[in-house]
């Protein structure tokens, strides 16, 4: 490269208009031994930039990071395992609640309301009640205006017997 080329590049560089490639060739030029005396003032800058680039981490750093990352992985695995275990435990609990609950309210109701005490003692009585109830239902479904006294009486009568 001629001195003129360098001068042009330098001007462009200080204007902040050079590309990375052009900057690289400038750096190469100033690393060389035949730097034109007219550019001497700028040589230290490029030497400085070069020397700054030399600072690096110790070679053991990479191994250290990798070991640490693997340790982190194991820790994370353990954390995930604990997390899954916890979620599973709670899931089991929730399933347990959901499975148990449908029975519980009925139990609760029958504790609050002891339906069993209203149950006829014999199956014949019970059948009569059911039949009466269904007859009443049927007559009401048929839109019968008059209250089906007969069936209602049956219900009332037998209920009072075992009350």
């Amino acid at each position: 490269m001629t001195t003129q080329d360098i001068q042009k590049l330098l001007d462009k560089y200080f204007e902040g208009e050079t590309s990375l490639e052009e900057e690289a060739s400038l750096k190469r030029y100033f690393q060389g031994k035949d730097v034109d005396p007219s550019f001497r003032a700028f040589q230290p800058l490029f030497q400085f930039l070069e020397s700054e680039r030399e600072a690096s981490l110790s070679p053991s750093f990479e191994t250290r990071i990798l070991t640490q990352i693997q340790a982190e992985n194991r820790l994370r695995m353990r954390r995930i395992t604990i997390y899954i275990a916890r979620v599973a435990a709670i899931a089991v609990m929730i399933i347990g609640i959901v499975v148990l609950f449908p029975k519980q309210p009925h139990m609760n109701d029958s504790i609050a309301i002891n339906w069993a005490q209203y149950e006829p003692q014999t199956d014949e009585e019970a059948m009569a009640e059911t039949t009466a109830a269904l007859q009443l239902l049927a007559s009401k479904l048929n839109g019968s205006a008059r209250t089906a006294t007969k069936e209602l009486d049956q219900i009332k009568r037998s209920a009072s017997v075992f009350k």
């Binding site: 309210p105 309301i113 069993a116 209203y118 009640e129 039949t131 239902l137 049927a138 007559s139």
Partner: protein, 168 residues
């Protein structure tokens, strides 16, 4: 995370308990009057329904058969009857029924006399889970709950059997 699971648990508990509370309209209603002597109460347990197979019904064949068919599907029956304050009790019962849970099958209103509501809880098919009948008349209040896997067609067959009988 813990908070999230806590929330899920609470929500699930809430959902399951409210669903349960609402599912049993008659219990909800009757719990208020459990010690009220004015009520006549009848309860037939699922166990009792299992015994019915062997029994005969003292009715005409057509009616008896129709009833037997329905009884086969039943798993429980609860009846409340009251003879005082019947209209108030009827109104209260109608209001208490969760309209989201129960679907109105039919309502019969007789001017100034008697109202009958039929409500069902179903899964969208012909087989319903519960049939609720509420009668509010001048002399009687009746709240009746049939539960089981009830075939609505059998119910209408039964109604028809009695209708034909009435005509005779």
């Amino acid at each position: 995370m813990r908070t999230l699971l806590f929330v899920i648990t609470v929500v699930l508990l809430g959902v399951s308990s409210t669903a349960q509370a609402q599912s049993d309209a008659i219990s909800k209603y009757f719990s208020k009057y459990v010690d009220d002597e004015r009520f006549t109460v009848v309860y037939i347990s699922p166990k009792m329904f299992q015994l019915f197979d062997k029994l005969d019904i003292n009715l005409d064949d057509a009616e008896a058969n129709a009833i037997k068919e329905v009884v086969k599907d039943l798993r429980g029956l609860r009846i409340l009857v009251a003879e005082e304050n019947t209209m108030e009790l009827y109104k209260e019962a109608s209001q208490l029924i969760n309209k989201k849970e129960y679907e109105v099958l039919m309502t019969v209103r007789n001017k100034g006399e008697e109202s009958v509501d039929f409500l069902i809880k179903d899964n969208g098919g012909d087989i319903i889970d519960e049939l609720l009948m509420i009668i509010g008349g001048p002399d009687d209040f009746v709240l009746m709950s049939f539960v089981g896997k009830i075939d609505i067609n059998k119910i209408s067959e039964m109604a028809k059997a009695f209708e034909e009988d009435d005509k005779e």
